[in-house]
Structure formats: C-alpha cells, structure tokens
C-alpha cells in the first residue's frame, strides 16, 4: 500500500509545471502520431470486417442456405475469418498501438524509430489480410484462434517483431527510470506474444506433434493469447487511464503487481477443457489455475474500486472512462464465469455449448475492445491536438457497444446453459439444436448493434484523421502559395 508514491508519474503528468518532463508530451505525441494513426485506422477497418463476417455467420442460423453455395463464404470459413480479423486485425493491432503510446508517455521519451513501426504495421496488416483470405480460401490450419496459414503467420510474426523491437527500445530509452505498474504489464506483453506465437506455429505448422499433443499446445496458445495477453494489455490500460483521467492516485501499486504476478503465473496454465481426452493431470491443473484466476480479478476490481472512491466508471461524463468501466465490468464477469465453468461439474454442462462462445466474445468485445475504445478515444485527440468531429457519436458508440455486447452475450450464455442442461440427458440431438436457435437469432441483434457502433467508431476516427491531415495540407498549401506571393512582391 503506497498511495503517496513520491515518483508516481501521474502527479508529474497532471501538474507538469512542478517538474518539467524529460520530453514534453506534445513532442512524444508527435513522434507517435503517424504509426498510431496507421495502427488504429487499420484496426478499425479490421473491426468492421470482422463484424461483417460475424454477421454473415450469424445470419446462417436464420437461413442455413444463405450464401452457402459459395465455398468462400461457408460457415466453417467465415467464422474463423471473423475471429481472426477481430483478434489479429483489431485486438492485437490496436492493443499494440495503445501499448506503444503508453510506453512512450510513461517513459517520457519519444517513440523510437516511428517509421520502422509503420513498416511493421504494414507488414502485420499484409499478414492478417493474407491470413483472412487464406482462411476463406480453405487454407485454415484447423487450430482454433491459430487458423492463419503458415505464410500469413510468418508475415504477422515479422510485423510484430518490427513493432515490438522498437517498443522494447522505447522502454529501454525511457527518461523516467521509476516504473509504473502499467509498464510491467506492457513490457511482459511485448515478449509474451512472440513467445507463444513462435511456439504454436513452429510446433503445429512446422515440426508437427503427435495426436492430442497438438490440441494441448493449441489450447495453451489460445489461453495465453486470449486470457494472458489481452489481460496484460487491457489491465495496463485500465491501471493507466483510470487514475489519469480521474486525476487521482492508483489505490495500491502492490495490489496491481500482485495481479500481474497472478496473471502470468497462473492464467498461463489455463485453457485445457476439463473433459479433454488427454492425460487427466492436464485438465486438472488447468481447472486449479483458472479458479485461482479469481484472485486476479478481485485484486484488479478492488484496486480500481478504491481508486475511483467507489464511484461507477460507467456513470462518469468522460466517454473514455465509460468505455473502460464497461470493459472492467466485463473483465470481472468473464473472470468469474471462467472460474465457475472450469469446475468439472459445471464444465460438464457448459462444455461444447454456446456459453463458451459467449464468454469468449464477452472477453473480446466486452473487455478488451471496450478498454481499447476508451483508450483510443483519449489518445487520438491528444495526438492530433483536435477533438473528434462528431463527439455525439462517441456517446452513441458507447450505448450501441454496451447494449450490443449485452444483447449478444446474454442470449448466448442463457441459450448455452439451456443447451448444456439438455445435453445431460439422452434427448434427441436435433431437438437440442433447435432449442438453441431462438437464442442465436436474438444474438444477431447484438451483432447488428455492435456493427453499428463499429461504423460510428470508424467514421469518427477516420473523420478526425482526415480533418487533421486536411488541415495540415491546407496550411502547407497556404504556406506554399503565400511564399510565391512574397517572392513576386520583392523585386
């Protein structure tokens, strides 16, 4: 417990006149501007792509024949394409953008070699595009969350290395040596992804493994990406933005560090389903560590709750805080749901059902994407020195996103539990499948709401970027034309 940490960066940030920062925030922002614009804009485009694919997949439950005559748009290809576009196109990309910015701001140094980050981002996007097209073309690897074929994975990995390299260098060149908790999370996240991604791809697509060993490694990868990496970056953003935007101290640095340790030590062991046909010690270990994950969730929640002084973040006027509050709420729900459904008796019901899918999507859209939206809505105006062109759309985006996530996750969860309970009895399967349809169809509404929100997000982001560069171009043009006039006037 150290509420009055003398060197907390926030005291200095928020009252920069006390101690002049090593590099002024606007200089840092200027160095980050172009790479972050590239990362955030392409992330927003991927988000919308993912929504489009997700909608196609969802509509197939209303009419199985919808777009079924095209091999490229069959359900089994569109769904992984949507997940991959969401995960690699949006989550990782936007997460990296936010991470790089936080690393530069917290280290009070400019982003090292922004141009290389842009090259890395382009390589990453090329890789994701190749991967999504590859999946639609039938080149999926068959491992969930790792469907991108080897050529695309190589590009993605190369792009990541380029971006992470400069991220690590930025961290190393920081002028503020004292570390804030977010930096722990971010620094670990920078390494975590290449470690798990290289392992999974080398083993599953390169050397090969025998039988169920492949499945175990794929589950391990999914867990480390979806639970550990997303939480590392998302929590870093929560711990950074909540105190910063509230202009308060983080309640406890040590509680946050405990969350960090619990996350990397225990959450990395989750992911093996309790019923998996593998040696029993593996699922058992996963169950134990997943249940222990509750401690992380409680630590995070208590920390933020105390930081806000018990106020609800979603009721704040600052839209970024609203988003982050919704993200935190989803994080808590997902954490508890994971712990409860990890228990073998409960898992017996929820395994193989839509509940698992709903929980996974709540993690994507409810937790990570919400936090990242909040961060982006704060960061981008800082980078550009301008406000969003449509501030009302930000609020509208929050309501559609929150409502969309609710309408999406709740039917899937309820339908999943109903489906799981029926699966416990020797009911004819066709009846069980039919019983889930109303829930699936209801979740399409949530899908639509979220897609609408994503359009608003893209419009606002694109509008601001367009406005900024148009302003720049206009002033450059004015400068150029003005110069000619003076030159003419002189002789």
């Amino acid at each position: 417990m150290n509420p009055n940490h003398p060197k907390s960066p926030f005291i200095i940030h928020n009252s920069s006149f006390n101690l002049p920062p090593s590099v002024a925030p606007d200089v840092i922002d200027a160095s980050c501007r172009l790479p972050l614009v590239v990362l955030f804009l392409s992330a927003a485009v991927w988000l919308l792509t993912a929504s489009a694919f997700g909608l196609i997949a969802s509509i197939k439950f209303h009419a199985p024949g919808f777009l079924a005559d095209s091999a490229w748009l069959t359900y089994g290809r569109v769904r992984p394409a949507a997940v991959n576009a969401m995960l690699y196109g949006f989550c990782l990309q936007a997460g990296l953008g936010v991470a790089l910015w936080m690393l530069a701001r917290l280290g009070r140094t400019t982003l090292a070699a922004p141009w290389m980050v842009i090259v890395g981002a382009l390589c990453w996007n090329l890789g994701v595009a190749a991967g999504v097209v590859g999946i639609l073309g039938g080149g999926s690897t068959g491992f969930e969350n790792l469907e991108m074929p080897a050529y695309a994975a190589a590009l993605v990995f190369l792009g990541y290395l380029m971006m992470a390299f400069w991220g690590v260098l930025t961290f190393h060149q920081r002028r503020e040596r004292q570390l804030y908790v977010s930096q722990w999370f971010l620094f670990a996240a920078l390494f975590w992804f290449p470690w798990i991604y290289s392992t999974a791809n080398l083993v599953l697509q390169g050397f090969g493994a025998r039988g169920m060993a492949q499945a175990v490694i794929a589950w391990w990868y999914s867990d480390n990406l979806l639970v550990v990496w997303l939480a590392l970056v998302g929590l870093a953003a929560i711990f950074y933005f909540v105190p910063k935007l509230l202009n308060r101290e983080l309640h406890s640095r040590y509680l946050a560090l405990m969350a960090f340790w619990m996350l990397i030590l225990f959450a990395s062991w989750g992911g093996i389903p309790a019923s998996a046909p593998v040696p029993a010690w593996m699922p058992t270990l996963s169950v134990v560590t997943t249940v222990l994950g509750v401690i992380t969730v409680i630590a995070v929640f208590v920390n933020v709750f105390r930081t806000t002084g018990g106020k609800c973040l979603m009721r704040m006027s600052n839209p970024s805080l609203k988003f982050i509050g919704a993200g935190l709420a989803s994080f808590v729900v997902v954490g508890f749901a994971s712990a409860v459904t990890a228990l073998p008796a409960v898992n017996q019901v929820t395994q193989f059902t839509w509940f698992t899918i709903g929980k996974g999507l709540l993690n994507f859209y409810g937790f990570f994407a919400m936090v990242i939206f909040g961060a982006i809505y704060y960061i981008v105006p800082q980078l550009m020195g301008q406000e969003f062109p449509f501030p009302k759309l930000v609020r509208a985006h929050f309501f559609t996103a929150a409502l969309g996530v609710l309408l999406f996750a709740v039917p899937l969860a309820v339908g999943g539990i109903a489906q799981g309970l029926k699966l416990q009895h020797a009911v004819i399967f066709a009846d069980i499948a039919k019983g889930t349809l109303p829930f699936l169809r209801a979740s399409t509404v949530g899908d639509l709401m979220m897609a609408l929100g994503h359009v608003m997000f893209l419009v606002n982001l694109g509008g601001l970027v367009f406005q900024f560069y148009r302003g720049r171009a206009l002033s450059a043009w004015a400068e150029a034309t003005a110069e000619i006039k003076t030159a003419e006037a002189r002789p």
Binding site: L169, H172, P194, W195, S198, V203
Partner: protein, 124 residues
C-alpha cells in the same frame, strides 16, 4: 574517435539482445524438436516392409538366373529364360515333333485332377 565504433557495437548489442529475447522461446522449441521428436508412427514398419521387399526381389532375381528343381519326382525344372528360349528354338526347328508331346508335357507339369466318383450321381 573511439566512441563511434563503440556506439555501433552498442547498437548491434541492442539488436542482438532484443531480437534474441523475442525469439528465445523459438530456440527452445527448436531444441525440444531436436531432442524429443519421435519418428513418425509406423516408421519402423517402413523399414521392415522395405527389407521384406528387397528380400523378395533378391530371391526372384536369383531364381530367374539360376537352375533348380521345381518338382523333382515329375522332372519339372526351372531355368533362365534365355536358356528356355534357346531350348524352345531348338525344339521347334521341327514343328511337328515339337507339337507331338505338348499334351503330355502339360499333363506332366500340372497336378492330376481328383478321380471321378466311382458311382455317378443320381441327379446327373
């Protein structure tokens, strides 16, 4: 003067250090594959089957090029094809003589059919 190469070396050290730490687990995977990867299932069967095939072929080639008894009591032998062709050529100089014992030779080489039942069936 001396600071320039030193800075270059520091830069190189950064590159190696950071890339190395990003790729360290890939190296672990390589080591794991190198030391623990089992041969694919059925690899041992491949060796066994290849050896069996080679043995079979060797026997066949040996038999094609050598002489031996097939059925000593009946006087049936095997001999290299070239020799057999020469024998046939020699025999068939006189086609009538060669034709004369064809049936006898076939009967000698083939197994005798079972004897007909002593009493014919009532249904025939």
């Amino acid at each position: 003067m001396s600071s320039q190469p030193a800075r270059e070396r520091t830069g190189l050290a950064y590159v190696i250090g950071i890339l190395g730490s990003l790729l360290i687990v890939a190296a672990l995977v390589w080591a794991m594959q190198r030391y623990t990867q089992q041969p694919p299932l059925g690899q041992d069967r491949v060796v066994v089957r290849k050896k069996a095939l080679a043995d079979l072929r060797a026997t066949e080639v040996g038999e094609l090029a050598s002489y031996g008894w097939l059925d000593q009591p009946k006087g049936v032998v095997r001999l290299p094809i070239a020799d057999a062709m020469q024998l046939a050529l020699r025999d068939w100089q006189n086609p009538a003589a060669a034709r004369s014992n064809l049936i006898a030779r076939v009967e000698k080489a083939t197994a005798a059919p079972p004897a007909a039942p002593a009493k014919p069936s009532a249904f025939e």
